[in-house]
């Protein structure tokens, strides 16, 4: 196989001077970057030139894998996380953090897919499908999680969606899964029977909320019933700024 060039310090236009996290933005930059392409460096690609950009995002849309494989991987993830933490709370926090970026990814994937299903091709310029709307209100967001997100992940909707009845916590909502996949196949060690591995899913939900601009804390709680021994309630607590905005949007009549 052809020996691809080694990449030296690769840099494209890079107006951000390698500090993507810093908040500053209007720093002085090198004058006028012409629109000419930068020298192609970066990652090596196979000789067929296939990269992630050549793979259709819907390719694995209906693909399936063994549920056991998921369980094995997930159990290893939990076991590994367990080695690096001191208690159950810590562990749940860590699982939550691992789920969070998945939430952001799934959000984009979901919207991409809804954009592209109504009219099949992006390139067909004549038919302008109406893309889905970003959620502006809490309820819209919750429906997105309860329905499309759950279906993408678990092949079915969640089982219940409720608003806290307590006047002290109007910012709290609950999404219930009677039989969460992440708990079905995972046997938690006895000394950790408080652990709910659905903390991972709670992290995913938190990522979705945050991504959409609804700052929230999401936690998973065991609430077994006789019929559903691993029933889990995801508790979503929205931040104050979200609740404030919600009021403003309500008054403005925005749905």
């Amino acid at each position: 196989m052809a020996a691809p060039p080694r990449h030296s310090a690769m840099l494209s236009v890079s107006n951000t001077a390698g500090t993507p996290q810093s908040g500053s933005s209007d720093k002085s930059q090198t004058p006028q970057q012409p629109s000419t392409p930068q020298p192609t460096q970066g990652l090596r690609v196979p000789s067929n030139r296939k990269t992630i950009y050549d793979r259709h995002l819907n390719r694995s849309r209906n693909a399936e894998l063994s549920r056991a494989s998921f369980a094995y991987l997930f159990a290893e993830m939990v076991t590994y996380a367990q080695r690096r933490v001191t208690g159950i709370q810590d562990l749940e926090k860590r699982l939550n953090e691992q789920g969070y970026p998945l939430g952001l990814r799934l959000l984009d994937l979901l919207f991409y897919r809804t954009t592209t299903t109504s009219s099949s091709a992006l390139s067909s310029s004549s038919t302008s499908s109406s893309p889905p709307n970003r959620p502006l209100r809490i309820l819209t967001l919750l429906h997105l999680i309860h329905g499309p997100l759950w279906r993408l992940l678990f092949g079915r909707s969640a089982d219940a969606l409720e608003h806290s009845v307590s006047p002290d916590t109007p910012n709290e909502y609950m999404i219930t899964d009677n039989d969460p996949l992440v708990n079905t196949y995972i046997s938690v060690p006895r000394e950790m029977n408080q652990l709910n591995c659905a903390a991972f899913v709670a992290g995913i939900i938190e990522g979705v909320c945050d991504g959409c601009g609804f700052e929230a804390k999401v936690s998973a709680h065991n609430q077994p019933t006789e019929m559903w021994p691993s029933r889990t309630v995801f508790l979503l607590g929205f931040g104050e700024s979200v609740m404030e905005r919600e009021k403003v949007l309500e008054r403005a009549g925005i749905k």
Partner: protein, 185 residues
Amino acid sequence: MSYYFTILSPTDTPIFNIAFGTSKGGGDGIARFRFPDTAQYMNQFIIHSSLDIVEEAQWTNGGMYLKHIDTYPPAAAYISAFLTPSGARFLLLHQPPQLPNSGSSGGLGSSSLLGSSGNLVARGSTSSIAANPTSPQTEEAVRQFMTEVYESYVKTAMSPFYKQGMEIRSPVFRTRVTAAGKKWL
């Protein structure tokens, strides 16, 4: 028409920038900003000054494509915005080759569909997209451009090693954006 396209992270950090010119109507795809020496700086400045409007529109319009949202008359710069559901902002600055001869900033829908409306002095051969930043054709072209970039962006963001807010350095991504610009703008 000259374009400056930038992707801002949810915390307003630019994670991708590119300048290009129109390929429509015989355009050569090269950006010719009015202030070439300071174009990068000016463009970022103009784009950032429109962020307040973007943030306002973000919560009144649930669409991903928000169309033309702001105009910066001193530079005859028009800003169009597209918001990803996960909080990234795609902003496109377009600058026609010459200043409009009237003070009007080309109000939405007021321009002729043919794009040869009186408030623009079009130089050379023009198409509506190249000459008129607010015509329906331009809106549609920009929407197509944004949607195509969004597809590539999602592919970037799906990689487990990509973290939100990271600069997008992939030359393939850049090529894709360039191609989308050529195709639609």
